[in-house]
Amino acid sequence: MTLTVTNLAITRGGVPVLEGINFALEPGKALILRGPNGIGKTTLLRTLAGLQPPLAGVIDGAEDTVAYAGHSDGLKPTLTVVENLRFWASVFGAADIQSALDAYGLNELADRQAGNLSAGQKRRLGLSRLLVTGRPIWMLDEPTVSLDRNAVAMFADAVRGHLGQGGSALIATHIDLGLDGEVLDVGPYKAKPKPIDDFDGGFL
């Protein structure tokens, strides 16, 4: 499943933020998105995941192939770790959650309510969800927030395993994950303003 993005322009809150983005993400590859705060990484990931429509351009190969993980984890505080994970597994039609628990060292937390986990433990649970989606393209927005070094290494291993199985990953992050992958700095794609006498375009 190759994800191909051609001449993409995206908006946030009605304001164009990035434009002219082109890249192809091939199976087995990771692409690291970089750029200063507020440049539009989150917006780009949400657009690629199909949560918002692009302003212009073509996204190819993202239909039903994307597993998205954003700033928040979508955990239910009153469900246990296993229950949370099993729910997502059955939504995505996966049967096995054990390997996901193993990958992030969640076995000993299995019966704890998600609301009683520490910030980093929650994040680990959130990331383990990716392993039960069975989706080939991961889109991750600052996945390692709150993780300690050990857990960052678990995450890097999980991503490597995923790439090894022919998956691909698009990761927005500010820190070094110890993954090798191409780096895409989105800074240069910042949207240029339209001329102001363009009255109709002035709505966007």
Binding site: G14, V15, V17, K190, I196, D200, L204
Partner: protein, 257 residues
């Protein structure tokens, strides 16, 4: 000009700039003619029509009550139409026109309710009765309130346009249903019928024939209200377009800076 190209020419006005220049040109006509019609109609009705033998001078309220009641309903219908246009063709002007019309509709509804209530006091001995016509107007008022509140509550203009349009659509269906339900639930005091039977309503003519004395000034008032409505909606849509442009310009300035 073929029909298709005529239709396309119509869509031209969905271009904000074109809309602004065109309405700017025709607005003076609508303002002045609406003022003329309303003043003539009201003066005619107020000073130069006789009292009704049964309702006395209160019959003069009809010149405000009926036109505002008509416009209250028509305004919602117009909003429904422009909402549909937005949903199908995504012309910004039409969404903004719906937004601009809603407060006009609210005021029209309020006028109809207020004049009705004031009229009801001497006629039915009560300010308010749960008559179907009155009740459905109250519900219409609630729909207007919810619609405006939703516009105000959402910040992103396109999101707001989408959501309010769907609300308008769904709301119309339910408003219609309510009208039926209310009719079923209570057969009320309010005169039924249409404008064409004012005579029956005012009691001058139990044979339900048109009473021209009251009808012609009323017609003038109705025309005046329609013209006023058009003027207000054109003007307010222009305001909304500019407000939208300010927002976009400021946002763009931010991106530059």
């Amino acid at each position: 000009m073929s029909i298709a190209s005529k239709a396309n020419a119509l869509w031209e006005y969905a271009n904000p700039k074109k809309f602004l220049t065109t309405t700017e040109r025709v607005l003076p006509f609508f303002w002045i003619s609406s003022a003329v019609f309303i003043v003539v109609g009201l003066v005619w009705g107020f000073f130069f029509t006789p009292d009704d033998y049964k309702q006395g001078s209160t019959v003069k309220i009809i010149y405000l009550h009926v036109p505002s009641a008509l416009m209250a309903i028509n305004c919602w219908i117009m909003m429904l139409a422009t909402s549909l246009v937005w949903l199908v063709r995504r012309h910004h002007v039409s969404a903004l026109a719906a937004r601009a019309a809603a407060p006009v509709g609210i005021v029209m509804t309020l006028i109809a309710l207020a004049t009705g209530a004031i009229w009801g006091q001497p006629m039915w001995g009560t300010w308010w009765a749960w008559d179907p016509r009155l009740t459905s107007f109250l519900i219409l008022f609630l729909f207007y309130l919810g619609y405006v509140a939703l516009w105000e509550a959402i910040e992103d203009p396109d999101t707001a346009a989408d959501l309010t349009s769907v609300l308008c659509l769904v709301g119309s269906v339910f408003a219609f249903l309510s009208r039926y339900a209310v009719n079923f639930w209570n057969q009320g005091l309010h005169q039924g019928a249409s404008v064409m039977r004012v005579g029956a309503v005012t009691g001058t003519d139990t044979e339900e024939k048109v009473s021209n004395i009251f009808f012609f000034p009323l017609l003038v008032c109705i025309i005046g209200f329609v013209l006023l409505f058009i003027a207000l909606v054109f003007y307010r849509t222009g305001t909304e377009i500019r407000a939208r442009r300010i927002k976009a310009l400021i946002a763009r300035e931010r991106v530059n800076g």
